[in-house]
């Protein structure tokens, strides 16, 4: 155990703030940090020459896209770098102590009690077979700052201050009994129970719904303010950085390109990369992509896809005869050439609603009309004929493309399954590649050779192969970086202008919905709570829930 960690008097007074003992100067001081990964093709640099300071009580946001090196930086600070990573130069000083010079054991003594970590995805970051109270108490037991019974009490208090209701009861529960937001609170309790001088939060809310996201960030802010904890906040979301950070550090390609006070970075960005990030950030944009487009569809024509009173219930014991209603009386109309956004948080029924409309899931009640024809009771064979005209683009382009197929095979598959010859399918695949803005020589590539954005373009090309009237886009940009997101959204708008296709666009992200949709339906608990034109819903929301959602968008009102 290091002298600093031991000097903090945790055992006797868990509620007392230990910050008084801390030496002045930065909590974290990184100089010239360079990390590379060993691969079969030789070393690959991950970050180069990173300089970063965090003062006590200061929050520094480390912003960048995937592959920018922000996570590698955070891992280096927490000591969790993969075994293939190698720190080739630089230093990391925590409370004046050189972490890289410490031996294994001494380094471990800093983890957990000197530096806390709030990880990215709360659903997989807690041990599924251990009670949450024990998982919090473990920090104190590892560092021998409390005995078992005492550690358990402190753990309950830590859970309480992290915003967990009935912490005595919750402490005896297992992770699967808690929601994602609650689990993140448990992880916050784990990170802060040892009163660390530094908190590293690696995308702490990316996996959470927007309203939960705000509550969690509020909790972290309160706790670190109370204990004067320094925080390294790693995020891809400039909105989150804008709301929470004192300073912003922008990384790209493994290097820091710009850093400074949050206000200055947001209002007067100097580096072109920072400017492009700001322009692409959906929540910080004032105008939507839609404002530059030529309007194709009109809401006065007959709807191409019309869902009326859709109901889907799933059996569940103890909930009565009808079970749980995932979708409860949902109606919407999609007009040719227009975009309808279905927005809601997880569990709101937005994905199920869209799947019901496509008859990928059989509805318990209600009707679906496609181009005037009732398709609710259609036989499999007849449905197949209609299916040609509506296609689906899924959320995760990493999982929705068969990794063993070439790009031409992937795009041509719908054509071949509807009886076109291999030659025709290939020719059309090449045309479609061009249409979605990819070089035609991509036809021989496999998904593994493509980036996330390129994969999603392939998925879009595949959906358009049969020249459908309707494309359902299920969170099509959620897995993508913000600048790639903007490009894909622009592509979708351009394609709509060119082809007149109608989109049913599902997203949890209001900012994205605002950019692309003509009309919006807000879902909550399987019901539509508000519907109308995008402009009306965003500027004059009628339902309280819509207002809550809008207020929870990070970065709102900063620019």
């Amino acid at each position: 155990m290091t002298s600093t960690a031991a000097s903090r008097n945790l055992t006797t007074a868990p509620a007392v703030d230990g910050s008084g003992d801390r030496p002045s100067g930065p909590v974290l001081r990184i100089r010239g940090l360079t990390v590379q990964y060993r691969t079969r093709r030789g070393p690959v640099p991950a970050i180069q020459d990173v300089d970063l300071d965090i003062a006590a009580g200061e929050t520094v946001a480390l912003v960048g896209e995937s592959g920018s090196g922000k996570t590698t930086t955070a891992l280096a600070v927490t000591g969790l770098l993969a075994t293939t990573a190698e720190i080739t130069a630089g230093s990391i000083h925590w409370q004046g102590q050189d972490l890289l010079a410490l031996g294994r054991r001494a380094r471990r003594a800093v983890s957990g009690i000197g530096i806390g970590l709030v990880p990215q995805d709360p659903t997989v970051s807690l041990n599924p077979v251990k009670r949450i109270g024990d998982q919090v108490a473990e920090v104190l037991l590892i560092h021998k700052v409390a005995r078992k019974a005492e550690a358990r009490e402190i753990a309950v208090e830590a859970l309480r201050s992290a915003g967990i209701d009935h912490p005595e009861v919750r402490a005896r529960q297992f992770p699967h009994e808690l929601s994602g937001g609650m689990r993140q609170r448990v992880l916050i309790a784990i990170a802060l129970v040892g009163r660390p001088a530094l908190l590293v939060a690696d995308e702490p809310t990316s996996a959470l719904d927007v309203t939960v996201q705000r509550q969690i960030l509020d909790s972290i802010s309160d706790l670190i303010t109370e204990h004067h904890t320094g925080m390294l906040l790693v995020t891809h979301d400039l909105g989150v950085a804008a709301d929470r950070a004192d300073r912003v550090v922008v990384m790209t390609g493994g290097r820091i390109v710009e850093q400074g006070p949050t206000g200055q970075i947001l209002s007067r960005p100097e580096h072109p990369y920072t400017r492009s990030l700001l322009e692409a950030a959906p929540s910080l944009r004032t105008s939507g992509i839609g404002s530059i487009r030529r309007r194709v569809g009109s809401s006065t024509t007959a709807p191409i896809l019309h869902a009326e009173h859709l109901v889907k219930s799933f059996p569940a014991p103890g909930v009565g005869h009808h079970g749980i209603r995932a979708v409860d009386d949902v109606s919407f109309a999609l007009h040719p050439g227009r975009t309808l956004g279905l927005v809601g948080e997880s569990g709101s029924g937005k994905s199920t609603s869209a799947r019901l409309a496509l008859r990928l899931v059989e509805p318990t009640g209600g009707t679906v009309r496609f181009d005037g024809q009732d398709i609710t009771g259609l036989s499999a064979g007849r449905l197949r004929v209609v299916r040609r005209r509506f296609q689906l683009v899924q959320q995760n382009p990493y999982a929705s493309l068969n990794p063993r197929w070439s790009v031409a095979q992937l795009i041509g598959e719908p054509l071949r399954s509807y009886g076109e010859s291999a030659t025709v399918a290939r020719e059309r695949a090449v045309e479609l590649l061009d249409l979605v803005g990819l070089p035609t020589d991509f036809e021989h590539r496999r998904p593994a050779e493509l980036s996330g954005g390129q994969r999603q373009r392939i998925a879009i090309a595949r959906a358009l192969a049969l020249r459908p009237d309707v494309v359902v886009l299920d969170e099509p940009v959620s897995a993508l970086d913000v600048r790639v997101q903007a490009q894909i959204l622009q592509l979708l708008v351009d394609l709509q202008d060119e082809l007149g296709v109608a989109y049913l666009f599902i997203s949890h992200d209001l900012a994205v919905i605002r950019q692309i949709s003509d009309d919006v339906a807000v879902l909550r608990g399987g019901r539509v709570v508000e519907t109308g034109s995008t402009e009306a819903v965003f500027t004059d929301p009628h339902h309280a829930y819509t207002r809550t959602l809008l207020e929870a968008i990070p970065g709102r009102g900063r620019v």
Partner: protein
């Protein structure tokens, strides 16, 4: 919990009935009358009337469904018929041979869990990559090498060269060691493979990183966090492997000339002693069903999520949303 146990019990009974029925159908469909087989070469000296009398005695003159129902009725009361070979009751034959095989399989299972588990933990715990890789290659070897060959090699080395253990027979613990090792090797190899793989993926899970971020050392992460999670798939496989131990006993008991259920299986199959074979099939199924029932009941104690999954079958079509 009650519903969970009842459901598992119901499944167990169903599996037993199915195993018994399938073995009945197969043995019934086999060519060659059991009475003729039993009489063997002497059949020519016996009058057709005597054969018919014998067949009537065993109920073999009845239509197949009558035979099926009668035998099923008897089986339910614990009467598995009599051996064609020596007329001894099948139940008593099974019970007579059970202790030797139970001791053999039991010791083999313990050895398999200890060695297989130890190897898996070691392979994931060592800091040197080359050593870890070398250890991880051992199980493949253990699965690939045939059991009878291992038995013969062990005999050669420990019974004939250094005369540490007796070569054959059922004479006390020392006679148990070599056949148990023979039997344990393929089983421990499978356990090692499964556990090593699960441990490896558990150690790569984000919650293992959470533990490391708390300041937990590699030993703590391995034993306190990863092992319990990794034990779950291994437990399932171990339940299935108990069945394999019984079939392995056929080889081990033959090679080491031990009496037991394995030998009984070998002799009664070659003699086409239908009631005994069927009794053995039923016994094998019973052991299999009981171990898997035990595994199923142990599971929720290790992982509470199993209980929830089985009692609350809620379809969750909405995908986890990632931003």
């Amino acid at each position: 919990m009650g519903r969970y146990v009842l459901g598992r019990l119901g499944q167990a009974v169903l599996v037993l009935w199915a195993a018994w029925t399938v073995s009945f159908v197969i043995l019934y469909a086999l060519p060659g009358d059991a009475v003729e087989v039993r009489l063997g070469a002497a059949a020519s000296d016996i009058t057709p009337e005597q054969i018919a009398a014998l067949q009537a005695d065993y109920g073999l003159d009845q239509p197949w469904f009558t035979q099926y129902l009668t035998q099923l009725g008897h089986a339910l009361t614990g009467d598995l018929g009599r051996s064609f070979e020596n007329g001894q009751s099948v139940t008593s034959l099974l019970l007579e041979n059970l202790p030797a095989t139970a001791a053999l399989a039991g010791l083999a299972l313990i050895l398999a869990v200890v060695f297989g588990g130890g190897l898996a933990v070691l392979a994931n715990g060592v800091r040197f990559r080359w050593l870890s890789r070398a250890l991880l290659n051992l199980p493949a070897l253990g699965v690939a090498v045939p059991g009878f060959w291992v038995g013969l090699m062990l005999l050669q080395l420990f019974s004939f060269r250094i005369e540490l253990f007796p070569a054959i027979g059922n004479d006390g613990f020392s006679s148990l060691v070599l056949p148990a090792i023979t039997l344990a090797i393929p089983t421990s190899a499978v356990i090692a493979q499964i556990l090593a793989k699960s441990l490896h993926s558990s150690l790569g899970e984000p919650w293992s990183d959470t533990a490391r971020a708390k300041g937990a050392g590699s030993v703590r992460v391995l034993f306190r966090h990863a092992l319990r999670n990794a034990a779950l798939p291994t437990l399932t496989i171990t339940g299935l492997l108990v069945g394999q131990l019984l079939s392995g006993a056929v080889v081990a008991e033959t090679v080491f000339s031990r009496t037991g259920l394995g030998r009984l299986t070998a002799t009664s199959v070659s003699a086409q002693d239908t009631p005994v074979v069927q009794g053995l099939v039923l016994f094998g199924a019973l052991v299999f069903v009981l171990t898997n029932l035990a595994v199923d009941l142990l599971y929720p104690l290790l992982d509470r999520r199993t209980l929830q999954r089985s009692t609350r079958r809620v379809a969750r079509p909405a995908p986890v949303e990632v931003s």
